[in-house]
């Protein structure tokens, strides 16, 4: 059965760490054919990228070691080839693109040079490589190829950088393209464009595309077949539609169940007096307007989502409300006082009421403080909350409330997993007994199953303490499940606001519609239908 373009047989890879050997993947087997899209789906730590690294000879030995298996490319085992021969295949027959193109492009060379290099090292004369580079740039949709070739990676936007990576990978028309989380760091509309581009190029060249992702939506959109990995093993594989509709393994079923955006949307709430009323909020940095004329209100116990792509001003808005940044104009009435004109003393008191949970808990928790120090700092700063004698007990209580154990108190943040860290951050915010919590992309950095748990925790706290949330996110399905009302922002302005049902079922503005259309549904059937509709719309034009 050597007919497959690429076949991985019984691959096992071990990494030797000081904590002992770690089996990154065990007995993994899959195959990829010409013209096919295979997705490897898994959460962080599942080993989904390891087989790709093995194929590209990117596993350093030591610490990594391929303990068993074969990597058959056109029937020949890559592992039995010499270094030199494998380098000839890399970039020419099999190419790879990565997540986070900014750090994967060399910052000190022009993008033109980097694309040329792929061709030059595989024997294309420099002059021809130069000409082809320009053609490639045009093909992947980079404006002004002649000038762009002389620019450096930092001078491009995130989506353009991924296009550059694609141009570099496809320079020699490889038989296989491996894409490792190619759209994870991108906005949804940009993600849609990149996936579209990949699909188009694949149709053109007939290459096999191996897509490594954590996102069920991406799988639904592009994959023919899917391999689901968990804990270094393949738990299930099959056609994308079949695996989604009828998952065989409990892990797959759980993963699909955890995908947000399928639940019942909350009913519209009866109008309530606002707890926080913002009007005319603007923020300028010199010439640049980050935020303009934002008006909205937050009611007691309500969850208000603010969605938008990068640069839409949603984080600036949070920073202004918290006075981490001074707004240029406008007012925000909270309990009758304008947040933007508080005296230092009143501002200090207000800090207790409005708290924040940040995107990346790794960075928002001081690495040199124990969990107890992190939580009790609230009471050091605001001693009137709690007498010192009760700190230990309350900290233990808060940890229990967020689903951790009291004995975790003496550990440091780096000893916890991502989801646990975010729980600690939430416990810290709760220590001040706030009325409002602003969550700035608080679940974006987490795996889907962890994300669902943290959202569940936030919802639970809302029920128990009547908290109000301002929930900033770029991920629409999460918002759909969790929020009561939604504000859509673009370029520093609020383009639309309304209840979740209004926004998701009957969006009025084009931008909102585009945003919803670009957002991927985990169900391949739904995505297929949408694609159909898109193509149908395109053809007459």
């Amino acid at each position: 059965m050597a007919d497959h373009l690429l076949e991985v047989r019984n691959l096992s890879v071990t990494f030797h760490t000081v904590r002992g050997p770690v089996h990154a993947v065990r007995n993994v087997s899959w195959h990829l054919d010409r013209g096919e899209v295979l997705a490897i789906l898994g959460e962080s730590g599942s080993g989904k990228s390891v087989s790709a690294s093995a194929i590209m000879d990117l596993i350093d030995c030591p610490p990594g070691q391929i303990t068993s298996g074969e990597l058959l490319f056109e029937g020949r085992d890559l592992l039995k080839m010499g270094r030199e021969e494998r380098r000839d295949i890399n970039g020419k027959r099999i190419a790879m693109i990565f997540q986070d193109p900014l750090s994967h492009l060399n910052p000190v060379y022009t993008v033109g040079w980097q694309i040329e290099e792929t061709m030059v090292i595989h024997g294309t004369p420099r002059a021809r490589a130069r000409a082809e580079t320009l053609a490639l740039l045009a093909k992947v949709g980079i404006p002004n190829p002649g000038q762009s070739a002389h620019k450096y990676p930092h001078q491009f936007s995130g989506g353009q950088r991924q296009r550059l990576m694609i141009a570099m990978a496809l320079a020699l028309r490889p038989d296989i393209l491996i894409a490792d989380e190619p759209t994870t760091a991108l906005d949804v509309t940009v993600q849609a464009q990149i996936l579209d581009l990949l699909e188009k190029l694949q149709a053109e060249t007939g290459m096999g595309l191996l897509l490594i992702t954590h996102d069920l939506g991406v799988v639904a959109e592009v994959a023919d077949r899917v391999v689901v990995m968990n804990g270094g093993e393949i738990v299930e594989q099959g056609s994308a539609a079949q695996v989604y509709a009828n998952p065989q393994h409990p892990y797959t079923a759980r993963l699909i169940a955890a995908a947000p955006g399928k639940g019942e949307m909350p009913p519209d709430r009866a109008p309530a007096p606002p707890l926080l009323a913002v009007s005319g909020l603007c923020k300028r940095y010199g010439e640049f307007t980050a935020l303009e004329g934002a008006d909205f209100a937050l009611a007691e116990g309500e969850t208000l989502a603010i969605v938008g792509e990068s640069g839409s001003g949603k984080s600036t808005l949070a920073k202004c409300l918290l006075r981490l940044d001074e707004p240029t104009g406008g007012q925000a009435l909270y309990k009758g006082a304008d947040l933007f004109r508080l005296s230092p003393k009143d501002l200090f008191r207000m800090r207790r009421d409005i708290q924040m949970v940040f995107q990346d808990p790794t960075q928002s928790l001081n690495p040199r403080m124990s969990v107890y120090d992190l939580i009790s700092e609230a009471w050091v700063i605001h001693p009137e909350i709690l007498p010192r004698a009760q700190w230990k007990a309350r900290a233990a209580g808060l940890l229990a409330q967020v689903g951790l154990l009291p004995e975790h108190m003496h550990r440091y943040a780096h000893q916890f997993s991502g989801g646990q860290r975010q729980r600690i951050a939430i416990a810290r915010a709760l220590a001040l007994e706030p009325r409002v919590i602003i969550c700035d992309e608080a679940v974006s950095a987490l795996d889907v199953s962890i994300q669902a748990q943290v959202i569940e925790l936030l919802a639970d706290l809302r029920r128990r303490f009547g908290l109000s949330y301002i929930f900033i996110a770029h991920d629409l399905p999460v918002v759909r499940d969790f929020a009561d009302r939604v504000i859509v922002m673009q370029g520093g302005r609020i383009v639309e606001q309304g209840s979740v049902r209004q926004i998701f079922d009957a969006p009025r503005e084009t931008y909102t519609k585009n945003l919803l259309a670009a957002s991927l549904d985990p169900d391949p059937a739904v995505q297929a239908a949408r694609r159909e509709a898109r193509h149908a719309a395109k053809v007459p034009a």
């Binding site: 590209m56 380098r87 790879m96 994967h104 060399n106 000190v108």
Partner: protein, 304 residues
């Protein structure tokens, strides 16, 4: 770029001014200048004449104005020892120091970068261990001690190389070798650390996925990124060599600025001391600008 150069020039002008004020007031307030300029056994009459001649009886502020005025016309006074303009004496010596520093720094940079990069490519390997060991020892060695041990060994016991002075190419070997050791150790350490970071960076992964061979991966992809912190240390070391070759120069009787300084201090040739400081400060100023330009050349993200 112009704004940056202006800022740099202003900072340097300020520091030169501070330097001038410091040197002036230190030399005037810590004692009678006649004691500084004239031999210890000069007569009272000679001292009085000296005072009148140089206007030392005028108010301090007048003296300071005159002093600065002279400096602006590049008049540092005459060397008592050599009866020539002090600036000429210093510039002559500076040429020697500059040559010595230049040769040494080129050798050091090249050797440290190549060995450091190779050590980083094979962390924990035999070559890495040897390179790390020797660089640590090199970075810890006092140059004056190395110099005299080298003289005893190579000049006195083995008789291979001249002990001091200039004249033949052989005379350059020991000073360069001794000056080489410490910067080599220090720079190698920085190159190694910085290259380890660069070699584990994502863009190196991309290069390997493209099929780039190991040598270009190290020397084309990683090295240019890893050079930025290295440039800073090279600059520091070069600056140290421009003014700090004092010890090595005086041990090897090498006629550079360092030796001139010490000799002038011992022989109370104060005008030369002052001129030497000014010239060195100016050279360091120029070098710092070169370093900043090197940054911008190496890293397109840096624009002034």
């Amino acid at each position: 770029m112009r704004k940056f150069l202006t800022r740099r020039a202003v900072a340097s002008a300020v520091s030169l001014l501070v330097l001038i004020v410091m040197v002036f007031f230190l030399s005037r307030l810590t004692g009678d200048p006649t004691q500084l300029y004239l031999p210890v056994d000069a007569s009272l009459e000679a001292r009085e004449n000296f005072r009148n001649l140089h206007g030392l009886n005028d108010p301090l502020i007048v003296q300071f104005g005159r002093y600065v005025g002279d400096l602006l016309t590049l008049d540092f006074g005459d060397s008592i020892r050599k009866s020539r303009p002090a600036l000429d004496v210093v510039i002559e010596a500076f040429k020697w120091t500059l040559t010595l520093a230049l040769i040494t720094m080129v050798l050091v940079s090249f050797a440290a970068i190549v060995f450091g990069a190779l050590a980083a490519f094979n962390v924990g390997g035999v070559f890495d261990r040897i390179a790390t060991f020797f660089s640590l020892i090199g970075a810890s060695a006092p140059d004056f001690w190395i110099a005299i041990v080298a003289i005893v060994l190579f000049s006195v016991n083995l008789g291979w190389l001249p002990t001091s002075g200039t004249g033949t190419l052989w005379h350059w070997i020991l000073p360069i070798a001794v000056l080489f050791i410490r910067p080599f150790g220090l720079i190698l350490q920085v190159v190694r650390g910085s290259m380890i970071t660069a070699l584990s960076s994502p863009y190196v992964k991309t290069a390997r996925a493209k099929g780039v061979r190991p040598r270009p991966v190290i020397f084309v992809h990683a090295l240019r990124n890893g050079m930025l912190p290295v440039i800073t240390v090279i600059g520091d070391q070069a600056a140290g060599m421009l003014n700090g070759a004092v010890v090595v120069e005086s041990i090897f009787g090498f006629p550079g600025v360092g030796k001139l300084m010490i000799d002038s201090i011992l022989q109370r040739d104060f005008a030369v001391v002052l001129a030497a400081i000014m010239v060195t400060a100016f050279a360091i100023f120029l070098m710092n600008i070169l370093i900043d330009i090197a940054y911008a050349v190496l890293d397109p993200r840096i624009r002034y």
